[in-house]
């Protein structure tokens, strides 16, 4: 009888991209729950919108490139990208902005460069940067105010209306924590600034929980060996070093704890910077890469015009990643020194 003729190895593990991406999505769920709890339905609606748009665009492109559709959809990479973008943008962002962002991310950044595994830039972050540059008003004025005793959240139906019809929801939107701190730090001291109700009892109302959820999700991913510890630790480490160097005095600049727990630091460190396709390859390279992102995040936050410039930080380090790869090759067994550079 005819036997299968395959060369070794004959055993494969049970890993798959779907599984990996699924784990990432799963890790994002607690954060999503926290966000919904504190900031309303906006994130969920945005998530659903983004995911459907992403799948739609992916199908179109796969058809255009004459590739099997189900195979392309099955790996859940578009879903993950959409989810990440939805969590990054403000909850009340108009729907068309989200759609444009998704379009840019899926079609331009991902498929134009070759599809899954070939994109040199992080799609979600590139889309975020695009939206920030193109629609600065929408991107800065649609942040939701956290749930407090005094502040309530918009209902689901109203949120839908706000997103799809851009209705007036001024009472529910406000500046982010980082924004407030940054704009007032020149004039006021820390104590004065933190009188602002959005700061809450601990650091920032609601945001600390969200960051915590992100952290938990990230640890889960490390445990599941979806990501390694190098990138997140180095991002946080870079940020820590910079903020220790320059932000020791909370009266003159944003405090360290605020840096870590407010904004999208945790999201960026565990989910966005660790995007494997666009980051550096070797472990040492990941360290450099992460440190670069951390430093740039601090630079942009402190001296840049945008309150949260982590999208640009990630993009800039994406740009540097291939160069870092050339010079951070690991040492192979039997070698004295690693071969670095582009010449043998």
């Amino acid at each position: 009888m005819a036997f299968v003729n395959i060369t070794s190895p004959h055993v494969v593990g049970h890993n798959s991209v779907t599984l990996m991406m699924g784990k990432v999505c799963l890790a994002l769920v607690p954060a999503l729950v926290a966000l919904t709890y504190f900031f309303g339905w906006g994130y969920v609606i945005n998530a659903v919108l983004a995911v459907s748009a992403a799948v739609f665009f992916e199908v179109i492109i796969t058809l255009l490139r004459k590739r099997p559709i189900l195979f392309a959809i099955k790996d859940l990479s578009a879903v993950t990208t959409a989810l990440l973008l939805a969590l990054a943008v403000p909850p009340f962002l108009p729907w068309w902005a989200t759609i444009i962002g998704i379009f840019f991310a899926i079609v331009f950044i991902k498929h134009l460069f070759g599809g899954l595994g070939h994109n040199p830039f992080n799609p979600a972050m590139a889309a975020y940067a695009l939206l920030l540059i193109s629609f600065p008003l929408q991107m800065t004025t649609t942040w939701s105010i956290a749930l407090t005793e005094t502040q309530s959240l918009l209902s689901f139906g109203d949120t839908l209306t706000a997103i799809f019809k851009s209705s007036n929801i001024d009472s529910y939107t406000g500046a982010t924590v980082l924004d407030v701190y940054k704009h007032n730090v020149a004039a006021l001291t820390q104590n004065e600034i933190t009188q602002n109700p959005i700061f809450g009892s601990f650091v920032a109302n609601g945001w600390e929980w969200v960051s915590l959820m992100y952290l938990l999700g990230g640890v889960f991913l490390i445990w599941q060996k979806v990501i390694t510890w190098h990138t997140p630790v180095s991002v946080l480490g870079g940020l820590l070093i910079m903020s220790v160097l320059f932000s020791y005095d909370a009266d003159t600049s944003t405090s360290i704890s605020l840096h870590f727990l407010a904004g999208s630091t945790m999201l960026g460190a565990f989910f966005i910077a660790t995007d494997p396709v666009s980051s550096a390859t070797s472990n040492l390279g990941k360290l450099y890469y992460g440190v670069g992102i951390g430093v740039l995040i601090y630079v942009f936050r402190t001296w840049g015009p945008n309150p949260d410039g982590f999208a640009f930080a990630v993009l800039l380090m994406n740009f540097c990643a291939p160069f870092i790869d050339h010079y951070t090759r690991p040492r192979t067994y039997g070698q004295d020194k690693a071969t670095r550079g582009y010449k043998a």
Binding site: M1, F3, V4, N5, I6, T7, S8, P9, H10, V11, V12, G13, H14, N15, S16, V17, L19, M20, F71, D75, S77, G114, G115, L116, G117, H118, K225, V226, T228, P276, V277, S279, T281, S282, N283, D325, R329, P330, R331, T332, Y333, G334, Q335, T339, Y342, A344
Partner: protein, 967 residues
């Protein structure tokens, strides 16, 4: 009793590694069972790394179990023994187990099922043997690495063992499913430890590690017990956590010692020797029991494998024999894997044999081994990098292999990949990574081979260029030397110093050789004058050489040696000349001694040759003088600074001119005196010893020379006017000589009654010569026609020449036969054109006369032309004209005579004239038609043709006129 000392040493964690499901429980529960004796045993000649073994048995030969049937071929090769007793049934190509599924040469044994052993000599104590003997035994037994690669074991035990400090026994068996070593350790631990002791004796390492994973607790126990029993105290059983692929040699070395085998190197470079535990047992078996390696323990496992377990099979058992022995489930088997699931390969042909390093037969069912899904693109997740035991970047390697970027792949150390399969085990995209690396490795190998070829070709080309350069340089050197010599000699001529004595000697030798060739038969006449001349020459040579030596001492010291040698020669010559002269004087001026005729001939000929060369020299000197005068005049006008230099050179040239003229005069006078002398001698001798033949020959020679001189004079008159004088003198000299000789000859002929006979003889001799020559040349022509067609025209020309000569000789002979007296002097056969031949018949005379007339007319035309633009040729041409006129008139007289003699003359003449007219007419017609053509097609040829028409018309008219005249 030794202690267990494996507690303190740490192990180094292997970087990376994966944990595939072990699946060992299926086959390690039952003890090792005996394998079957199949119907035929197939033993490939190449079961090991290295050269295939050489067969030493023949078909039909009966062998016993353990008998040597193939010997190792070279150092890195192994013996092969018959696994059981039986008959060699064939030695042929059979399918073997190899990923390529190719055939190889195998020895086929048909067992007789008696299983009789050959003679064996077991020993009790291996310590009595020397190391060399132990290694010898290992080699004799044909032991190779049984863990997988199959490296001949005896090679690993070098003669110098002082740098090995660790012996590592690989009992890891890290691959899933395989349990052969496990059971071996459990059941035969004592033998294994004995084997280790044998190896210890050979290598004397500081420590012995048995590396084993912690998923084999029973084996660990057994080994530890055996170690306790053994006498050596540095064996330790090192247990470390199970991880694939810790069993790789390099990985195990790192885990147990923390050292890394250098890239591209061997473990022995870090003082380590690694052996598989099965090999160790085989060593024990070979040394102690004198059992050759003829069987091994193989695991049969997999859900479709029937009765799973470990079997001790004979080497060479075909796969299907073993499978049927274990009653495998053929229908549900998906594939048959030789080896483990991570690094084994599928078997194509189940009749292929299991060889010395086949440790497992894995027969999975369809769903047992996870199916590999279609590959996603690489998402650069980095999982592969985390598990790679060699520290590579598999995703980059995959990226480069996929894009055929082999340069970067080499940079990323693709060659260090051990193809363990850990990376593809964890890849989420389920990319067949190992296959990509194999592809890239193959391509790189191919490229390197092509590159090496190109390098070799380039080296060859460069060597050839170098060789050609050297040859060219040598040639240039030689050319330079020659040019320098020539420059030096030219310079010497200018400045008055003498050129190289060697050259002179060479030139002399040449001239003499030439002269010797020329003068075949000469008059053996010796004259005192010539002797005197020779003596004088020799003396002058001596004097001049002495002077030259003086000069060269100052200016060219390197020539002194040569000049002195030459001086010696010249002194000898002078003495010889003196002696001969004295003797001749003594003997009397009139009695000639027949000295070597060649020398006299040479001297005689010498005179005339010398005249020519001297004349040439004189004329050259004259030329140079003129040129120098001119140059001086120029310089006086334009470049006054050169005037002085030119004046000195002008003086030199004038001196030289005067010298050469003087020489010439001296020589000519001498020559004339010589001729006179020779004439005198001839006159005097004619009474006594003058020989008609010799005179005849001499006369012929003289005539030849005269003719040649005439020719040369003509040539010179046209383009070398400065030589004309000298040549005219030559001509007259030769003419005189020939006339004198003729007179003597006639006299001799008149005196000698046998003259005619002699003359006839001479003529006959000449005829013979001519015939021979003709035959020769005809032969050569035939040859050329056969082999060298491009030489044919030259030979044909020579043939024609020889033919004319032959005919002339023949004619002369017949003439001699017919009319004895009148033709005596005219035996000269060389120059057909200018000799007036004796012809009687009208048919011959008439064309001759016509020709002569033509020549006369042509000469007239030439004279007219020359009178206009070449006045220096006028004299010569006038002479020509008169000569031709004379000739034609002579011929006319003869013709008339002949005509008057011949009754039919007129008719003959008429016939000839008519023929002439007809010829002319024909020619004219042809030319006219050609002219018509030209007018139609090639108008630019018309003027030429019209000219030809005119000339032909004139000829025709002439012919007609002649005809009318005679009519």
């Amino acid at each position: 009793m030794s202690e267990l000392n494996n507690t303190n040493q740490q192990f180094y964690a292997l970087p990376g590694g994966v944990h595939p499901p072990e699946n060992k429980a299926q086959s390690n529960q039952q003890p090792i069972q005996a394998g079957p004796i199949p119907d035929e045993l197939v033993l490939p000649l190449s079961q090991h790394i290295g050269a295939p073994s050489k067969v030493i048995v023949e078909i039909g030969q009966k062998v016993l179990k353990g008998e040597l049937i193939a010997r190792n071929d070279g150092f890195i090769s192994a013996n092969i023994h018959a696994p059981t007793s039986g008959t060699i049934s064939a030695i042929e190509q059979r399918p073997i187990v190899h990923p390529s599924s190719m055939d190889a040469m195998c020895i086929i044994i048909e067992p007789d099922h008696y299983d009789t052993w050959t003679n064996r000599s077991p020993i009790l104590d291996f310590k009595t043997l020397t190391n060399a003997q132990l290694v010898e035994k290992i080699q004799q037994a044909g032991i190779i690495g049984m863990g997988g690669a199959g490296f001949p074991t005896h090679v690993k035990y070098p003669t110098k063992t002082d740098n090995i400090d660790t012996l590592i026994i690989n009992a890891t068996e890290c691959e899933p499913y395989i349990t052969a070593d496990d059971r071996l350790m459990r059941e035969r631990a004592d033998g294994i430890i004995k084997g280790i002791e044998i190896c210890q004796q050979i290598l004397s390492p500081k420590q012995v590690f048995i590396g084993i994973e912690d998923n084999k607790p029973e084996a660990v126990k057994a080994l530890e017990a055996a170690v306790l029993k053994s006498e050596s105290n540095n064996i330790s059983v090192r247990v470390f956590p199970t991880k694939y692929p810790s069993g790789g040699e390099k990985q195990l070395v790192y885990i147990l010692t923390g050292k890394e085998v250098p890239k591209g190197g061997l473990p022995s470079q870090v003082g380590i020797v690694c052996q598989n535990i099965g090999t160790i047992y085989a060593i024990y078996d070979a040394v102690m029991n004198d059992n050759a390696l003829i069987s091994r323990v193989t695991t049969v496992t997999g859900d479709a494998g029937g009765e799973l377990g470990n079997y001790e099979i004979l080497i060479g058992t075909p796969i299907n024999a073993l499978l049927s022995h274990v009653k495998w489930n053929e229908k549900s088997a998906q594939r048959v894997i030789i080896g483990g699931p991570m690094m084994g390969f599928t078997a194509q042909n189940l009749s292929a044999p299991l060889v010395k390093n086949a440790n497992c037969l894995l027969v999975p069912k369809k769903k047992e081994l996870a199916k590999q899904n279609p590959a996603n693109p690489c998402i650069r997740c980095g999982q592969c990098e985390q598990v790679c035991p060699a520290g590579l970047l598999p995703q980059q390697l995959h990226w480069y292999a996929k894009n055929d970027d082999f340069e970067k792949a080499k940079l990323a150390n693709l060659a260090d990949c051990i193809e363990c399969g850990a990376c593809s085990f964890v890849c989420p995209s389920q990319i067949p990574l190992v296959q990509f690396y194999r592809y890239a490795k193959g391509k790189i190998r191919e490229e390197d081979r092509a590159h090496a070829e190109a390098e070799r070709a380039k080296a060859r080309f460069e060597a050839r260029q170098a060789r050609l350069d050297i040859v060219a340089a040598e040639k240039a050197e030689k050319r330079k030397i020659r040019a320098e010599k020539a420059a030096r000699s030219a310079k010497a001529k200018k400045t008055g110093t003498v050129p190289d004595a060697d050259l002179i000697a060479k030139a002399r030798a040449k001239i003499e050789a030439g002269k010797a060739a020329n003068s075949s038969i000469v008059a053996p006449i010796i004259d005192l004058v010539s002797l005197e001349q020779t003596l004088e020459k020799a003396k002058t040579k001596v004097i001049t050489t002495k002077k030259r030596i003086e000069d060269s001492k100052v200016s060219a010291p390197e020539m002194i040696d040569a000049l002195e040698i030459a001086l010696g020669k010249f002194v000898d010559n002078a003495n010889k000349a003196q002696i001969t002269f004295d003797e001749a004087k003594k003997a009397g001026t009139n009695t000639a001694q027949i000295v070597d005729p060649k020398t006299t001939a040479i001297t005689n000929a010498d005179n005339f040759e010398c005249i020519e060369s001297l004349t040439a020299k004189a004329n050259k000197a004259q030329d140079k003088l003129e040129k120098a005068k001119q140059r001086l005049a120029d310089a006086k006008e334009n470049t006054p600074e050169k005037v002085e230099m030119l004046t000195t050179s002008l003086e030199k040239f004038s001196q030289k001119a005067i010298d050469t003229q003087a020489q010439l005069k001296a020589f000519t006078s001498k020559a004339n005196s010589n001729t006179k002398a020779s004439e005198q001698v001839v006159n005097q001798k004619e009474v006594e010893q003058v020989d008609v033949e010799q005179l005849q020959n001499a006369y012929d020679l003289a005539k030849q020379k005269h003719e040649k001189a005439l020719v040369r004079l003509d040539n010179a008159k046209q383009d070398k006017p400065h030589l004309v004088d000298g040549l005219e003198k030559n001509v007259s000299a030769f003419l005189k000589k020939s006339e004198e000789l003729k007179k003597h000859l006639d006299q001799a002929v008149a005196n000698d009654p046998q003259a005619l006979e002699k003359q006839k003889n001479v003529a006959k001799q000449k005829l013979e010569k001519a015939t021979k020559k003709l035959e020769n040349i005809l032969q050569k022509l035939e040859d050329a026609k056969a082999n060298k067609p491009d030489l044919v025209p030259a030979f044909e020309k020579t043939v024609i020449l020889m033919q004319t000569q032959f005919e002339k000789a023949k004619a002369a002979v017949t003439a001699l036969e017919n009319s004895p007296i009148t033709v005596q002097s005219e035996l000269n056969l060389s120059q057909p054109e200018m000799i007036v031949e004796v012809l009687e018949t009208v048919e011959e005379l008439q064309p001759q006369y016509d020709q002569a007339l033509q020549k006369y007319e042509k000469a007239l035309v030439r004279l007219d032309n020359a009178k206009q633009d070449k006045p220096h040729l006028v004299d010569g041409l006038e002479k020509n004209v008169s000569a031709f006129l004379k000739k034609s008139e002579d011929l006319k007289i003869k013709l008339d005579q002949a005509l008057s003699n011949d009754p039919q003359a007129k008719q003959k003449q008429r016939v000839i004239l008519e023929a002439n007219a007809q010829k002319a007419q024909k020619k004219l017609d042809v030319m006219l038609s050609k002219l018509e053509d030209a007018k139609a097609n090639n108008p630019d040829l018309i003027p030429a043709f019209e000219k030809s028409v005119k000339t032909l018309q004139t000829k025709l008219d002439k012919a007609n006129a002649q005809l009318k005249e005679e009519a």
